[in-house]
């Protein structure tokens, strides 16, 4: 799989798209970027003294081949740098990850390193499963390369940092767009016109996830924010407009109402099997697109207008609260997820966007035409995930509430207006400072 991807990259080799680097630089600009740290200078500090030994246990929830391959490559990299150190990657099913972490913490045990859904940092940190990372981070020479949006702080303490970000873009089926004679859309109106034309020609308009939970909320937020909805000032009118717009797509036959049963994977599998003009999906699908799509395809930023926002998601990496060797755990992170080489490996293997400013400028990013629109999205629409003003303990509640409203409207269980009113009422309770 890896070889085919490289081959494709060579085939499609385009000139460096400066936007990719620019996007990542914007990311960095939010942080305290200042000096230009030399690539690879970070992980050789403690490595030389050779005192480190033992086993690093890493809990993760990856089962997709490329992502597992990246974990293996990281383990190999760290082991080759440190004699006598073993890295043990432990798969925990996604559904079980948080409860297993929290119950382990209750028994005073747990992994050395946790790789988890960044959005759930608050739940895991509040559950006592993560060790504070402030000391390591303060001494980390390259900390300036990381933007604020990838640093997970709960009540002023840093618990995790993300080595990369994942976000949504608008995938399009180039053959269908050519058939109906439209360019990839840059505004919501163009998108809707294109979907109408595609439906006219007997195709489906778009696929996305309408699942009543956090995945649904993550997919809903761009469209809701495009109408002016935010969590800083939740407005029922804006929420209603956003929900009603996408419900309209269902009623027009552009989006299947079946979307309410789709997680984020199924709609992309629908897209790659053909017959659908657009898919709202993430950069992590590059491998799937390459493997399964039998047509020409491309990506543009979601056409969200001036107000639109796209969450910057991805996995957070932290040190287990009951790690017996937190120094070694930190070295592992510094050598893999946080190092420029490690981040480039992630680009090449999985197609994720590096968090480091210097790594984002690497050839691996700039030579990949599919990464360009995602990098542009970061610059144009990038938003913290979850929204910073949501109290940590309420994050899961907020996501579930909005996800259920999204699903209820798409599935015709509720009218957009009623759902928006009820949701905003619930949100006001959840968002109030506690």
């Amino acid at each position: 799989m890896f070889t085919t991807r490289s081959a494709r990259q060579r085939r499609r080799a385009l000139a460096l798209t400066s936007i990719a680097a620019a996007g990542a630089l914007t990311l960095a600009a939010c942080g305290s970027s200042g000096e230009e740290a030399g690539a690879g200078s970070s992980d050789d500090g403690d490595a030389a003294d050779g005192e480190l030994s033992g086993t690093v246990t890493v809990w993760h929830y990856f089962s997709e081949d490329n992502q597992v391959g990246l974990m293996d490559a990281y383990a190999e990299k760290f082991e080759s740098e440190h004699e006598g150190v073993t890295v043990e990657n432990v798969f925990v099913p996604y559904d079980q990850m948080n409860s297993k972490l929290v119950s382990s913490a209750g028994a005073q045990t747990g992994p050395d390193v946790v790789v988890f859904n960044g959005a759930e940092a608050a739940t895991i940190a509040l559950g006592g499963a993560l060790a504070p990372m402030d000391d390591y981070w303060a001494d980390y020479a390259d900390a300036g390369e990381f933007p604020d949006s990838v640093i997970h702080q709960i009540d002023g303490t840093t618990y995790a940092v993300q080595g990369y970000v994942n976000l949504l873009g608008l995938w399009y089926n180039a053959e269908i767009l050519e058939e109906i004679g439209v360019e990839p859309p840059t505004t919501l109106d163009e998108l809707e016109d294109a979907m109408a034309a595609a439906a006219e020609a007997g195709h489906d308009g778009i696929t996305l996830s309408g699942l009543p939970q956090s995945q649904g909320e993550w997919q809903a937020y761009p469209w809701l924010s495009a109408e002016g909805f935010t969590y800083e000032e939740p407005d029922a009118g804006a929420l209603e407009a956003g929900l009603a717009r996408v419900r309209g797509w269902v009623e027009n036959g552009w989006l299947s109402q079946e979307a309410v049963t789709w997680d984020q994977t199924v709609p992309f599998q629908q897209f790659t099997s053909g017959g659908v003009a657009f898919a709202e999906n993430g950069n992590w699908q590059m491998g799937a697109a390459e493997a399964d799509a039998g047509f020409e395809y491309g990506v543009v930023p979601l056409p969200l207008g001036d107000d639109g926002q796209v969450y910057l998601g991805g996995e957070g990496q932290g040190i287990g609260a009951f790690s017996e060797n937190p120094d070694l755990a930190w070295e592992y992170l510094a050598s893999t997820y946080y190092s420029p080489e490690g981040q480039v490996m992630a680009v090449e293997q999985v197609g994720s966007i590096p968090a480091r400013a210097d790594a984002a400028g690497d050839d691996a990013v700039s030579s990949n035409p599919l990464l360009e629109p995602f990098a542009a999205s970061i610059e144009q629409y990038g938003a913290n995930y979850p929204a910073p003003n949501i109290p940590p303990a309420a994050v899961a509640d907020v996501q579930l509430t909005v996800g259920q409203a999204w699903s209820a409207v798409l599935g015709g269980q509720q009218q957009a207006g009623a759902a928006a009113q009820a949701t905003v009422a619930t949100l006001e309770g959840l968002l109030a400072p506690q």
Partner: protein, 319 residues
């Protein structure tokens, strides 16, 4: 279950036994007492491993427990969790859905389970194969069965394709994404998953009927319905009771098919009590609220359990 009270209870049981026993049996105190000792190993084992989780669940339901306080001491909040569940209307709606869901699962599960057991009682290749097939499917994990049905019931799935191609319908049936259809679909798939189990147990009960009974009935010229009514139904009666309880319990605690097929959606249309409890405890990490929802369900089933115990007593009085 304290060991001290065991002999007392046993003695009482023995006394009552002697009084209600039909003639022919002399009351023997000792064997009755001894038989209670048969309960001891299981009682000790469950006392060690199951009582603590049960107590924790009860404690949780009257405490404020989140992921932040799970591993610390819990604040007692009384019945706040219960009140919150019903005040937001979530529990009430979920309760109604659960009742509909359980009704469908139980009726389909019991009727088709018994029908399957009767149909599969005969030997022969088809019966053997079908029984093996059903058990095979039953033993598959819910994520596999649920996913398969999700595909089969989808717009492009086999069932809708057949309906559309045969001209029976112009548009696909919204099995999983219409609020009413979705509840029925998950209930159907849950009964699909419980039928093999019920069939197997019913069948084991049917096989205890001595062949001579059927031969005698055949000599008397009984037709098939009469065989079912007068021989098979009485034979499966004790099993029916326990299966009914187990099927009800299964319906009241099942959430994995809902998780796989609809995740409670569209919106909240398939949020039954067990799924609501799951969402509260493991998605929102409000363990107290989730525990309260579970306790509500357990209490509901306890009512059924009392009915069960009553009918058992009646059954005993008759025997």
């Amino acid at each position: 279950m304290t060991t001290q009270s065991a002999p007392v209870g046993a003695a009482a049981a023995a006394v009552r036994t002697r009084r209600t026993d039909p003639a022919g049996r002399t009351g023997r105190r000792r064997p009755r007492q001894v038989r209670l000792l048969f309960l001891l190993p299981a009682a000790i084992f469950l006392g060690l491993l199951s009582l603590f989780p049960l107590i924790q669940l009860l404690r949780m339901s009257v405490s404020a427990v989140t992921s932040a306080t799970l591993n610390q001491s819990w604040d007692f909040v009384g019945f706040e969790n219960f009140a919150e569940g019903f005040a937001t209307g979530q529990s009430t709606e979920a309760l109604q859905r659960t009742l509909v869901f359980v009704l469908v699962v139980t009726v389909l599960g019991m009727v088709l389970g018994l029908a399957a057991a009767i149909a599969l009682r005969s030997r022969g290749r088809w019966s053997g194969f079908l029984l093996a097939l059903m058990v095979f499917v039953w033993a598959l994990p819910p994520v596999v069965n649920g996913s398969v049905w999700k595909f089969l019931l989808g717009d492009a799935g086999l069932i809708n394709t057949l309906l559309l191609d045969s001209g029976l319908r112009d548009a696909p049936v919204p099995f999983l994404y219409d609020q009413y259809w979705a509840l029925m679909s998950v209930a159907f798939v849950n009964s699909f998953a419980v039928i093999p189990f019920n069939a197997l147990v019913f069948r084991a009960a049917l096989m205890n009927i001595p062949p001579e009974t059927f031969e005698a009935a055949a000599l008397d010229g009984a037709n098939r319905w009469q065989e079912v009514r007068h021989i098979m139904l009485p034979a499966v009666r004790p099993t029916t009771l326990v299966l009914l309880v187990l099927t009800l319990v299964y319906g009241f605690r099942s959430f994995d098919f809902i998780y796989v097929m609809t995740y409670g959606g569209p919106g909240t249309a398939t949020n039954t009590l067990p799924f609501l409890g799951y969402l509260q405890a493991f998605v929102r990490y409000d363990f107290g609220l989730g525990a309260a929802t579970s306790v509500v369900t357990v209490v509901g089933v306890l009512v059924l359990a009392v009915v069960y115990a009553r009918s058992i007593r009646r059954e005993e009085a008759e025997s």
